[in-house]
Amino acid sequence: MPITTLPSPLPGTFYRRPAPDQPVYKEIGDSLAPGDTIGLIEVMKTFTAVTADVAGRVAAFHIDDEDAVMAGQPLLDIET
């Protein structure tokens, strides 16, 4: 199965859930459709959704929930 790596579109803090007390958007193994929300990036207190650009399955996250990420840094692998 080919793997596509999705880079972070922005620098900031990566969140895998919409709020601290809510479940993650996607678990490893979950299927993805283009436009699905995978997480949020917080830049200077502004939140932007990270969405899938391809269909597939979440293979791995390179950045943990609530960790810092730079623009272009690999965010997750998608099995297409």
């Binding site: 922005l10 620098p11 803090t13 830049v43 200077m44 502004t46 810092a68």
Partner: protein, 460 residues
């Protein structure tokens, strides 16, 4: 000076501001920083710097244990919290004192009382300070309907533990009040862990005016007022001192009311009492007290000639107020604009990144409080304030003219900033005439003129 070493538990421009005041007093400075802030200006300026954790604020600047450990390691006698982060956290103030160090700010009990908006309102009423008509403290749904019937609609439902606009609802009718009351309660419980609510009459069109006070725990003085009506999403973007719209008798009554409340709670340090002012009736109403140094404090310094951060440190060291009310004189007019890393032409999109070039304006009556230097990379993890451009002149008209010139000189290259927006604002007829209110800026930002002009500024 009874304080040998001051540790700064903050970052950005305010950390630089505090280091400058500490240096003037001959204090040694210790700067804490997160892993994302190794290159920041305050780290370079301080006598010593200590890394306290990763970029995420909860693991660094908001981590009380990590901050206290840094103070113990470096032998800091006192900690200045700046604004935001731990500045208004009573548990932090208490922990610093329990550790045998000085918290440069009010007592923990004062911070706690003013952090409870319903308790602050009650304290204001006791001190004879006018408040927006509303409930006497926290109410249940049945009491809310009775209070609303007495003071009239529209009415605001507010969270006692509130802040940042959360837990606030505006009801137009009794039916809406019954529906929105539980919603506001649920939001307040989720945000603050406390669903206590109180009511205030909704004031639709008002100016935001605030009074600066200094207290030593015994006496208090005011340093006149600031007007901060130009706001976007409840964030101030442009501040002035004094508030030109106030008739002199109203100014005297307003400032005297602030001193009464500060003395009634034996206030220690620098604080700000926020009010709404209604041009038509000339009425002013206390809304809340901020128990910290504020972003916009320089405009007060410019009109009074008093270094507020120095006074905070002296008071924390145990000195009595050095100034009587009679010593404090308001001279001329000052304006501050906040330079944020935001692109006003693209819905204020955040714009962190590397500052490739920097030209700072200067000359008489111009001040730039910032943490930028050429080559510095602004990290994406914190708020977007890059600095404040402050001008002074004998008249408001002169200050506006000086601001236009200074904005023209100021160049921050490599990232988008709010400089183009301020350039346009500084020439706007309503701003020039001072005919603004707290909801004026958001309406103004809808205009196409800004979009076109701001994009042009971006290219330049």
């Amino acid at each position: 000076m009874a304080i040998g070493t001051i540790m700064i538990a903050n970052r950005g421009e305010i950390a630089v501001r505090i280091i400058r005041a500490a240096r003037k007093l001959g204090c040694r400075t210790v700067q804490v920083y997160s892993a994302a802030d190794r290159d920041m200006l305050a780290v370079r300026l301080a006598d010593q710097a200590v890394e306290i954790g990763p970029a995420k604020p909860s693991k660094s600047y908001l981590n009380i244990e990590a901050v206290l450990r840094a103070a113990q390691q470096t032998g800091a006698d006192a900690i200045h919290p700046g604004y935001g982060f731990l500045a208004e956290n009573p548990a932090f103030a208490a922990a610093v004192e329990a550790d045998g160090r000085i918290f440069i700010g009010p007592q923990a009990a004062t911070i706690r009382m003013m952090g409870d908006k319903a308790a602050a309102r009650a304290a204001a009423i006791r001190a004879g300070v006018p408040v927006v008509p509303g409930s006497d403290g926290v109410v249940n749904p049945a009491e809310a309907l009775a209070v609303a019937a007495r003071i009239g609609f529209p009415i605001m439902i507010k969270a006692a533990a509130g802040g940042g606009g959360r837990g606030i609802r505006i009801a137009q009718t009794p039916d809406e009040l019954a529906t929105l009351f539980p919603q506001a309660g649920a939001e307040a419980r989720a945000a603050f862990g406390d669903d206590s609510l109180y009511l205030e009459r909704f004031v639709g069109r008002a100016r935001h005016i605030e009074v600066q006070v200094l207290g030593d725990g015994h006496a208090a003085v005011h340093l006149f007022e600031r007007e901060c009506s130009l706001q976007r999403r409840r964030q101030k973007v442009w501040e002035e001192a004094p508030a030109s719209a106030l008739p002199p008798p109203v100014r005297s009554a307003l400032c005297a009311s602030a001193v009464r409340l500060a003395e009634a709670c034996q206030y220690r340090g620098a604080g700000t009492l926020e009010y709404l002012y209604d041009d038509e009736s000339g009425g002013f109403f206390f809304i809340e007290m901020n128990t910290r140094i504020q972003v916009e404090h320089p405009v007060t310094e410019m009109i009074t000639g008093i270094d507020l951060v120095e006074e905070m440190i002296r008071i924390a060291a145990g000195e009595r107020l050095r100034l009587t009310q009679h010593d404090i004189v308001c001279r001329g007019h000052a304006i501050e604009v906040r330079i944020n890393a935001e692109d006003a032409a693209r819905q204020f999109a955040p714009s962190p990144g590397t500052v490739s070039g920097l030209v700072v304006p200067g000359g008489f009556g111009v001040r730039f409080d910032s943490f930028l230097y050429a080559g510095y990379t602004v990290p994406p993890f914190y708020d977007s304030l890059l600095g404040k451009l402050i001008v002074w002149d004998a008249t408001r008209e002169g200050a506006l003219a000086r601001m236009r010139g200074a904005l023209d000189e100021l160049k921050v290259e490599g990232i988008a900033t709010t400089i183009p927006m301020h350039t346009i604002l500084s020439k706007d007829p309503a701003v020039v005439a001072g005919q603004v209110h707290t909801r004026w800026l958001e309406a103004w930002l809808e205009t196409a003129e800004l979009q076109a002009a701001a994009s042009k500024g971006e290219v330049a």
